[in-house]
Symmetry: C2
Subunit: 385 residues, 2 copies
């Protein structure tokens, strides 16, 4: 279990009945130190779930000690009652692990918006003792307990010079119910300050999760938590740690994209020659969010015209008549006109690579997305989430 | 035929073989004056089709005299050859109607991006004489000749005090092939200057077509053309004309929304209590472009949580926990928490009304959109466009 591979961590995952399937739905990751530090990145959606509101309070107070996560309900737009549920959950966990300060316990929830009644609260709070009793440095159950419609667990590990990073994640843009909430917990036994962790985490999430744009919808519950125990005794160069963390996040982002339920293509939109990274991201996102483009990929149609029409809606610097577009290595548009015959291009494979060259600078960025399929429509219309 | 109802106009629509179906695909509207004036609004997409580039030149020169429109091919990203096709088309029309200046002839095209070869040019230019010969002040064929996947013609008429406005339109966001290019031609026999027409047109399009956001994709070919003949001899108050024009555009926008191919719901997202109109539009658009919201409507699911998650991504002024959301008259969310039971809400009817109250000001705006359906995915993936 990868969040416990770094020294100084214990985790657990149990079933408390939030999911009607009876599958595991409550997880806990505890940082035993000896030099705890933490950093958290939250959803930028202003409509924030109650657990997010509680966790922001934790971050404002200082270093977090643990994170408790439930699936089977988002506890979002559940009013003051829902906020109290998050608080009570944190208080129960703090008591169970011998932590005097409940405001050092982060809380995450994922599932249906609006779920968060008395029964929801009772199942979580009432089972915290059992959860804490299951904590182990060899635990393998936590990654499953945070899943909603994911079909596989997502984990990653990177080893540095005497220190290690471990991680688990759930969610993906195309995952239908629950607005595809993305929850990530990353642990490390490196010795680093809160501030250094924060810098590394923001850099890593900005280049990975922020560029995973499967259906353009931003969840109310997203949270990426990074906990450092210092148990390795090794204080790495910040740059070395940041690079390893970026690799972990990038690997997880790729796994989330690949597990996007209902998708038949994993599409990497690589933008080159942009005036700035921000413009490369803007251009990539305009394509990633374009329904006509995504539907065309579903139909195995390398429709470069829709790519141009999409990027033409941005304010990025480029000449629309000087752009190159390639699909899976075949350049179909050169200098704003048709190039190779579309018959040379095979879009049957799941992995799809679209390259856009703007010839306006040196900056690049890749946006990950998926195609727009019948399964996506079915998943998101047939079930209330 | 509504563009010829105002005095001083002739039109025609014929089949020249651009459409494989043999249906009419070339139209012409001519302003016979005696006091011609014009105004044009173009797509804001920076990837502009060749006819748009030509038409911008016409507008830069002064008052337009006529507009020729073809369906069956967008003539976009067809290089210098495609630009010359637009120019040659204008020259042929000018010669055929006895207009000395080809740069007074606007050109519009709609259809597949990349279409615009020699055969395309020959069919258009070679048939201009026949098109001109078919011109009539009682013509009823032009509205059909501009259609692509529309299932019905869209026309509108408004009568003022001694003057009239007529209009025809094609396209709708959900119309699959061709990126749903929207082409509109509006005629009036009122006496007005180019500048007055321009002010009225920008105001009318801003409040109507700009707020029709069926699938968030902006065409490379959109153009709204307003031609005034002055043949009524009546010079209306600018405000009276602007109001009537706004009604015409609003009616056409509603008709485009209702004909969105593949849609099963016409959704009006009414935002109230915004700090400014721009913010009301931003909030409405965030919902209109949210795939999870649109898929939920397809499933007749009044998923207010997705509405809140959508508006939470905007920077508009409001408290996410103080917003009201109603579906078809039933308030499901009040002050950021569940209100009436969802069972009270019936989303089976095609016409859908979502009301969002931000309680942050007095501004309002309504964005029109459609749901995300299997038919949309099929139409946009199964056919190359």
């Amino acid at each position: 279990m990868t969040v416990t591979i770094p020294q100084g961590f214990r985790s657990a995952g149990i079933a408390v009945g939030l999911k009607s399937t009876g599958k595991p739905d409550l997880a806990l990751v505890v940082n035993d130190g000896p030099a705890p530090a933490s950093a958290v990145v939250f959803t930028s959606n202003r409509a924030q779930a109650n657990p997010i509101l509680w966790s922001r309070r934790v971050v404002a107070q200082g270093t977090a000690r643990a994170v408790v996560l439930n699936s089977g309900g988002a506890n979002c737009f559940t009013g003051d009652f829902g906020y109290d549920t998050s608080r009570l959950t944190a208080e129960a966990v703090a008591a169970a692990i011998g932590e005097p300060d409940a405001e050092r316990i982060l809380v995450c929830s994922t599932g249906l918006i609006g779920t968060g009644d008395q029964a929801f609260r009772d199942k979580i709070v009432g089972n915290v003792p059992a959860l804490a009793a299951a904590l182990s440095a060899e635990d393998v159950t936590a990654p499953a307990a945070i899943l909603t419609t994911d079909s596989v667990e997502k984990t990653a590990v990177r080893r540095g010079d005497g220190w290690t990073i471990g991680a688990m994640a759930k969610g993906a843009g195309m995952l239908a119910p629950g607005l595809a909430t993305m929850l990530v917990v990353i642990t490390t036994d490196a010795v680093l300050s809160d501030a250094a962790l924060d810098r590394a985490l923001r850099g890593a999430t900005g280049a990975s999760f922020d560029r995973l744009d499967s259906d353009g919808c931003m969840s109310t519950n997203d949270q990426v938590t990074l906990l450092a125990s210092g148990a390795s005794g090794v204080a790495p160069e910040e740059a070395a740690f940041a690079a390893a963390l970026a690799e972990v996040c990038d690997e997880l982002a790729g796994k989330l994209q690949a597990d996007a339920e209902g998708a038949s293509h994993d599409i990497d939109i690589e933008v080159r020659g942009a005036r700035s990274t921000a413009e490369a991201v803007e251009v990539g996102r305009s394509v990633a969010r374009n329904n006509l483009f995504k539907a065309a990929i579903f139909g195995n149609d390398p429709n470069w015209g829709r790519v141009l029409a999409a990027i033409g809606t941005t304010s990025a610097e480029f000449d629309p008549y000087a752009v190159d577009v390639a699909f899976n290595g075949v350049r179909l548009c050169h200098a704003g006109a048709p190039d190779r015959p579309v018959e040379e291009c095979d879009l049957a494979p799941r992995r799809t690579h679209v390259e856009i060259d703007l010839f306006a600078g040196e900056a690049t960025a890749t946006i990950r997305t998926n195609d727009l399929t019948h399964d996506y429509v079915h998943e998101n219309s047939a079930y209330s989430s």
